[in-house]
């Protein structure tokens, strides 16, 4: 089992990491190992206003999508949590549907609609579309967090005279904060990497990073992609390792992990 596990893990991560040495290649073509060392693809990325613009747009859309998903997903989770009403299952399934629906279907439906109301090629259009895909993840993580809250905490706050809003912000919110953060992270990643719906609705004026990469891969395999890919990989790996270390440190100091 151990050998199998190691082999599978290599299968999972080696292809991701092979891009990093490729990005320092001096060659125009992607040969491995690279014939010589050069930072030309990084220079090309950071010297190209189109690439930088697409990075900026992806970050903007990602942040806005995360905020909108937090608000809408948070409202949905609160409204659903521990409530009982006729048709609740249907409402919940409808809210979570984008998570299981093939993205290509969302893509053509949204494309048809947004081209009619003139949202193609706009930041707004991208944020709306990405929120459809990202908000269910917030709903799911928050629903399980809300289900595990001890109701006595909230009842105590209310019976001691706190107004509902105060009780929510001072009692409920701190308890669900870890889930809120992981949901937000997931929403951002969903938006930042989204390509299927984006291909249809980005038009010619809202080229996100994945769309720019798609164009580069489709026309000719442009090595600039390996530079930006390496930057993204290093970012994600450092983040995951930092989270892991923080987690271990918390355990060493005996602080209990909040249940999520």
């Amino acid at each position: 089992m151990k050998i199998m596990t190691i082999a599978v893990i290599l299968f999972l991560i080696l292809p991701v990491f092979v891009i990093v040495p490729m990005s320092f290649s001096s060659a125009q073509y992607l040969t491995f190992p690279p014939p010589g060392f050069s930072t030309r693809w990084y220079e090309k990325f950071f010297g190209d206003e189109q690439w930088l613009e697409s990075l900026r747009l992806s970050l903007t859309v990602g942040v806005l999508t995360t905020l909108l998903s937090l608000v809408l997903g948070g409202m949905a989770a609160l409204g659903l949590s521990k409530s009982r009403f006729r048709g609740k299952a249907a409402v919940q399934n409808f809210l979570l549907l984008p998570m299981v629906m093939p993205t290509i279907i969302v893509a053509i439906a949204v494309y048809g609609f947004q081209s009619r109301i003139g949202l193609i090629g706009t930041t707004t259009g991208l944020v709306v579309a990405h929120t459809i895909l990202a908000s269910p993840f917030i709903v799911v993580t928050l629903l399980s967090a809300l289900a595990s809250i001890d109701p006595n905490l909230e009842n105590a706050a209310l019976s001691l005279g706190a107004r509902p809003a105060t009780a929510f912000f001072r009692v409920t919110l701190p308890v669900i904060k870890p889930s809120l953060l992981s949901g937000a992270l997931f929403a951002f990643i969903t938006s930042f990497g989204e390509i299927v719906v984006t291909l249809f609705i980005s038009g010619v004026s809202a080229i996100t990073l994945p769309k720019k990469m798609w164009d580069g891969v489709r026309t000719q395999i442009d090595p600039t992609i390996s530079a930006i890919s390496s930057i993204l990989i290093v970012g994600i790996v450092s983040f995951l390792v930092a989270a892991h270390v923080a987690n271990l440190r918390r355990e060493v100091h005996g602080v209990k992990e909040p249940s999520s």
């Binding site: 999972l12 409202m75 399934n93 409808f94 290509i104 439906a109 009842n155 249809f200």
Partner: protein, 284 residues
């Protein structure tokens, strides 16, 4: 409120007002529900008249049956590969010590969080005719000339397995965590050999995870677009690509919408059939 629901720990309603559902529902109805109804209407019209023509065209042409069959076949192969590759990882993870477990989890999460396009691009580099994989196969003398690994179904299966494997591992893990390890010890103390304990106690107990992981990977697999589009060849068109071609290249909205609803129906059918194994909110 009944005594029973109080005992279950009903939260104060003041903090969970039902009207909170209205904005998210309205958002989804306007930006997804209405657009879906629009394409439903388009799928039921041919040149402006109500007709089932788009659907009969899809089901009567053997070309489209072939695409559908290839899509289901690819999704099935990918699901099985993910299960075979993912099971040992999830198994090792549940028995590993905390530190090792965290490291495996990081290794699983790295591809999970890396943009799909970055990963597909990596496979394009690795699998090309003079790519690393072919060089390795040649050096090991497993083949005498470069094998075609990309722009065919091999490339699609490798790429999709890589993309969907983390989902399988996470599903398996969450179900394996709830297995009572004492049952394995009991099996062993009653004279079961290690393999017997594994196959007659552990595997059946992890059936829930196997079912939900496989279902998740399968339904994600049948609707996949990016990986087949980049790593597949002309012969390997899957159903999502068919939809893209009809809308993007041929502007045939009615037919594309009809295919989309066939795909949606197949997806929901699988979800409903296996609903007893799985709850939508437990997939994550």
């Amino acid at each position: 409120m009944s005594a029973a629901s109080k005992a279950m720990g009903a939260a104060p309603r003041a903090l969970r007002p039902g009207w909170l559902l209205i904005p998210p529902l309205a958002f989804l109805v306007v930006f997804l529900g209405v657009p879906m109804l629009n394409i439903l209407k388009l799928s039921l019209q041919v040149e402006g008249n109500w007709s089932l023509g788009n659907f009969t065209r899809f089901f009567s042409d053997p070309l489209y049956a072939k695409v559908m069959f290839l899509t289901l076949k690819t999704a099935l192969i990918v699901t099985l590969s993910c299960l075979v590759l993912g099971y040992p990882v999830a198994y090792t993870m549940t028995f590993a010590r905390k530190g090792a477990r965290g490291l495996i989890l990081i290794a699983v999460m790295i591809p999970f969080w890396t943009s799909l396009l970055v990963r597909t691009y990596a496979w394009m580099i690795l699998l090309q005719t003079h790519g690393l994989v072919n060089r390795l196969l040649l050096d090991l003398r497993l083949v005498s000339e470069p094998v075609k690994l990309i722009y065919n179904s091999t490339g699609v299966v490798i790429g999709m397995t890589h993309v969907l494997l983390p989902y399988m591992i996470l599903c398996l893990c969450s179900s394996m965590e709830s297995i009572d390890k004492n049952l394995l010890a009991a099996g062993k103390s009653l004279g079961g050999r290690p393999f017997q304990v594994f196959s007659r106690i552990y595997v059946p107990l992890s059936a829930q995870g196997i079912a939900s992981g496989s279902l998740l990977v399968f339904i994600m697999g049948i609707g996949y677009y990016i990986t087949p589009a980049l790593l597949g060849g002309q012969q390997d068109t899957m159903i999502a690509q068919l939809i893209q071609i009809q809308v993007g290249d041929l502007l045939n909205w009615g037919f594309a919408s009809a295919i989309a609803f066939v795909l949606l129906a197949v997806t929901l059918l699988f979800l409903l059939v296996f609903k007893s194994f799985i709850r939508l909110d437990k997939l994550w």
